[in-house]
């Protein structure tokens, strides 16, 4: 199939095959996940040498390890001898990774150190040639990203103008951020892009899908009261990375601090301090508003609500969602706990918001597969073509208000950039 016919940015529609076709999915693994910078964790999860965690880049399981030299290493979690996984723990601390099958031992940098009965291997293997493949690793203010493509630009170039938005969450104070310990994982039958596009720009679903969750958490408020319709609200995107939300500076914090006032107090008390780092606009008007964001391709977060999550692909119609809670290191214990529990109350498998999203995405994925159904297009035309690059206040491509498909189309345009390129050379560095 001709991929460029699957997406029509100009006319504002998308082909339904994107959400279930096996061939498209396998190409995504090759051309998108194998080339892109992907979120793998937060520095705070592996502070000490020997600390490690395991996660996925595309469908490849990797170890994210703090090497003894203090550097972070990311390498394939698959022995070069017969392929067995070499680390089965979610996290921990170790001096080396020893394979269960024949005892091949790898260092915290993935290098092959030796093996059981290694005397027999003398002269039969050049260990330096048989370590575990390392990915490039880079940190953006605590967030760890890795990439298996040596032709990819630097993480900074990959993020481009989007860093201005990331800073709103990552750079609120000198101490910086950390993750609450642990991770909430669950699996469901949806295409990974439904999660990514939803966080990229889908402000419209909030008022409808999440009406019940909003009412429950706010003791009866309608979404419109938490997230008022604001002509200044906006969609912003850069290099396919998306941010959408308002400017009231309060909506999501109000949601989070319902029944937990200490959260509101914490943030309000820090506004000025924040403003010194981020300026008035970001510290007082953007941060705190109801906002959702996706770092291309599959890492999303909600500033204010404090959830960060990766949509790990497990096949064309299967996702593993892994979610973390991010907090400022300077948060007092009561606020940490309040943020953690309020975050779980809204965005987790039992979260009052998340429950409704998953059901929608599963059924959209399944329905799009119908043989007649797949012949029809999906409408992505709202405010299509209205974004401008020259906004006086906001970097990136901007469109107002936030009720639009602008970011979603930018996301799929970037998807098309990757899917139709034979290598990074063909991918526009900046969008």
């Amino acid at each position: 199939m001709d991929l460029s016919e699957l997406i029509n940015v100009k006319e504002g529609w998308i082909d339904r095959r994107l959400f279930w076709d096996q061939g498209i999915y396998e190409l995504e693994l090759e051309r998108l996940f194998a080339r892109s910078w992907l979120f793998v964790g937060h520095e705070s999860q592996i502070p000490k040498p020997g600390d490690f965690l395991t996660t996925y880049m595309g469908q490849d399981n990797v170890v994210v390890s703090r090497h003894k030299d203090g550097s972070v290493r990311v390498f394939l979690n698959s022995c070069v001898h017969r392929g067995n996984r070499i680390c089965f723990a979610d996290r921990g601390n170790t001096r080396s990774f020893v394979c269960n099958y024949h005892g091949w031992a790898y260092g915290t940098d993935g290098s092959l150190q030796g093996m059981h009965e290694d005397s027999h291997y003398e002269g039969w293997i050049d260990k330096s040639q048989w370590g575990l493949k390392n990915a490039r690793v880079s940190s953006y203010k605590g967030l760890l990203f890795a990439c298996f493509d040596s032709d990819a630009p630097s993480l900074d170039d990959f993020l481009g103008d989007y860093r201005w938005y990331l800073d709103i969450v990552l750079d609120q104070c000198d101490e910086g951020t950390e993750f609450i310990g642990g991770c909430v994982k669950n699996m469901f039958d949806a295409n990974w892009k439904f999660g990514a596009e939803n966080f990229a720009g889908d402000s419209l679903h909030v008022g409808w899908t999440h009406n019940s969750g909003t009412q429950s958490i706010t003791y009866g408020k309608q979404v419109g009261e938490v997230m008022p319709v604001d002509p200044q609200s906006f969609h912003a995107n850069a290099n396919g990375h998306c941010w959408e939300g308002g400017l009231d500076g309060i909506g999501s914090i109000a949601l989070l601090s319902s029944d937990r006032p200490c959260i509101m107090e914490y943030y309000q008390a820090r506004r000025e301090k924040m403003a010194k780092r981020l300026g008035e606009l970001r510290a007082k008007r953007i941060f705190g508003s109801v906002i959702s964001a996706t770092v291309f391709p599959n890492f999303s977060f909600l500033p204010g609500i404090a959830t960060m999550r990766a949509w790990l692909p497990k096949g064309p119609t299967r996702i593993e969602l892994r979610a973390w809670t991010i907090i400022n290191k300077d948060m007092p214990d009561d606020v940490r706990e309040a943020v953690r529990d309020a975050c779980m109350l809204s965005f987790a498998p039992a979260g009052l918001f998340e429950m409704d999203d998953g059901e929608n995405w599963e059924n959209a994925t399944r329905s799009n597969e119908g043989v007649i159904t797949r012949r029809g297009r999906l409408h992505y035309g709202l405010r299509n073509g209205t974004s401008r690059r020259d906004d006086p206040d906001l970097p990136g491509n901007i469109s107002r208000p936030m009720y639009s498909d602008v970011n979603q189309l930018a996301f799929y345009q970037r998807w098309l950039d990757f899917m139709t390129a034979s290598s990074w050379a063909d991918i526009p560095k900046s969008r």
Binding site: F88, A89, D90, R91, G92, N93, T94, I180, G181, G182, C183, V184, K185, N186, M187, F188, D189, W208, T209, N211, S212, G213, Q215, S216, I217, Y219, D259, E320, A323, W324, T325, R336, E337, R340, D341, M344, L345, A348, P349, A350, L352, E354, M355, D356, G358, E359, N360, E362
Partner: protein, 172 residues
């Protein structure tokens, strides 16, 4: 048989029926009645289950991420969802079933308190063929209030690392 055994058995039976009734309320989405079975200061906790090397194992830590860490207040907020009438994804309703087994009970530290444990299998089925299976155990502290048992504390151990269900619109 002696009185001691008899009392022990009667207590076990009482707890068994407490759990059976609780299961019936949950399967019927009768959450108001369910919350009635709890103490005002109930703590309801379902931690995530991590895969750790045995040498790294430690007691489950309330500071880490969880599926549920609730007070009566937050449970009221959660269970209010179905009352709004706009929880679209709950319509048609889910078919829930709690199977409760392996009930054990013993006297608790304070008089009138009991430590009880049980295993569960929760089956959910909705729409044409969506299924979810969850198995695990519960460690409870029960309190006798005016001759009735109430749930004062519950720790739910779900035997999954990555939750193999699309959501948790259910309680164990």
């Amino acid at each position: 048989m002696n009185q001691k055994t008899l009392d022990e058995m009667a207590l076990w039976y009482e707890v068994n029926q407490f759990y059976t009734r609780e299961a019936r309320l949950l399967d019927a989405e009768d959450y108001d009645a369910w919350l009635e079975t709890m103490t005002e200061d109930v703590s309801y906790w379902m931690p995530t289950r991590e895969n750790l090397f045995r040498r790294d194992e430690a007691a489950l830590d309330e500071q880490r991420m969880n599926f549920y860490r609730e007070s009566l207040t937050s449970l009221r907020v959660r269970t209010h969802r179905l009352k709004t009438g706009t929880a679209w994804s709950e319509n048609p309703r889910t078919r829930y079933r709690h199977l409760i087994t392996n009930v054990e009970v013993e006297a608790g530290d304070a008089p009138g308190t009991y430590r009880a444990s049980s295993n569960f299998l929760i089956y959910r089925n909705r729409l044409e063929r969506d299924e979810s299976w969850m198995v695990g155990a519960r460690e409870d502290v029960l309190l006798r209030v005016e001759d009735k048992l109430r749930l004062a504390k519950r720790t739910v151990l779900i035997d999954q690392n990555s939750l193999l269900s699309k959501n948790l619109n259910v309680y164990a």
